[in-house]
Subunit: 260 residues, 2 copies
């Protein structure tokens, strides 16, 4: 099942995507819901960020090749994480499928995409086990962890490097029927494929993170966990269109503009 | 004016604190509101976290003496921040005035308080100037940035060191009439005062952070910014009661228990 959040005559509503149509519901996939209203064409629908998370988690460095590339870019030695230590991103930076990634005037040319699987939590949970961990997952969506590498290197935290307004495209929707081992991530800029990797080839997988995180933290419905990216990323420039496809989920597509 | 959020017969409501009483309102201090219902005794009221922030910012290292002490504790050289780079904390960890700080079974004895001024944002703003920055502030509350120092030293991020469930007491309420230069922070454990410092003696002040942050990020009503703490903090143990007083705002008081 595919859950989208969309602009329903000025109100944010959830709907079920069926082929090229969307069926509005009353309620949300995180609680009670019922069908409400007529199907409408997906092509004529303004999609919104599929969920505004209570807490926005991000795994950061979670694929071997990307860690080597990032270390080189920021001038630090390569260190593979020894345990799944999660980090955070910020809601101000979220934009929906189709919305513009806006590069600030004073950013360098090193503004880069990162294509990520996003886990969407469906239930309030703590103390998950390896056996029951995935039961708390409502579904999966796609994130583009846009990053300004000079700020990532220079600042004490990742605040503006990763969380400048518009730097966190997420969508287009939440897919509930996913087999993690079969997913493939493909990143395209202006239609040209730059990166392809098996989505689940992570240093620490979804279950590893869920089990360790919930030893200490309660997860809530709508929390998201961005699982990291693979490969050597490249610069985005004004006029580019960046697409992150994860097979079986969909394609997150955002144009890039530079503020003047 | 003092805004509290409280349990109003099972529903979270805002109210105005007047002396020893609370006057319920319909609406919130972030939008429209009107008085609704009879005053009730503050002593008989269950206070809630005064706001659940869309984004939970924290300045981290922002007082000179604390930076030297923390560097020594985690075995790193002393480096004073050169610019106001904000970080993040997580909503799962928030608890209200009076609720228990629960130390996990596997935490070391190095679980410590940090008493912090908390800025509560009242309006959606970007591109603030030094002249208008404080206009976006609804008021101020108090935070206790409880930290497990061995995890702070060992982990790649601060996730469990700072964001274990119950590690972020915030409250008791939001005070709108504050003169930053006159505030004094006092930290007491079991009634014994351990630290006292002029709250506004920060490396980078509230205006510095607001101006720099909003060059890149939009602040939203309800966002909070925890401004950091001063001094050498000490361990909290089972049975302790930790109080953070900021003169003119109030006192945030939480008992400490260790899980078994």
């Amino acid at each position: 099942m595919r859950w989208a959040r969309f602009d329903n005559k000025g109100t944010a509503s959830y709907g079920i995507v069926e082929g090229e149509q969307i069926l509005p519901v009353r309620g949300t996939p995180f609680g009670e819901w019922e069908k409400a209203g007529a199907r409408q064409a997906l092509a004529a629908t303004k999609l919104l960020v599929p969920v505004i998370p209570p807490t926005f988690y991000a795994c950061g460095l979670n694929y071997a090749e990307h860690i080597r590339e990032t270390a080189a870019k920021v001038g630090q030695p390569v260190t593979l994480p020894e345990q799944p230590d999660v980090g955070y991103r910020a809601n101000n930076a979220l934009i929906a499928h189709g919305e513009q990634i806006i590069i600030p005037e004073d950013a360098t040319e090193k503004v880069q995409y990162e294509g990520e699987l996003v886990v969407v939590i469906g239930k309030k949970v703590k103390h998950l086990t390896r056996e029951n961990a995935l039961d708390c997952v409502l579904g999966y969506t796609i994130g583009n962890d846009v990053s300004e590498r000079s700020w990532q290197k220079a600042d004490r935290t990742l605040w503006r490097a990763k969380n400048t307004d518009t730097f966190k495209p997420m969508g287009p929707w939440i897919e509930t029927d996913v087999e993690l081992g079969k997913l493939v991530t493909r990143i395209r800029v202006n239609g040209r494929q730059l990166i392809e990797f098996p989505t689940n080839d992570m240093l620490f997988g979804v279950v590893d993170f869920l089990v360790r995180m919930t030893r200490y933290v309660t997860l809530f419905p709508g929390d998201v966990i961005w699982m990291g990216t693979e490969g050597a990323t490249e610069n985005l420039v004004h006029g580019d269109v960046c697409e992150i496809e994860i097979t079986g989920i969909g394609t997150l597509c955002n144009p890039v503009v530079r503020a003047r």
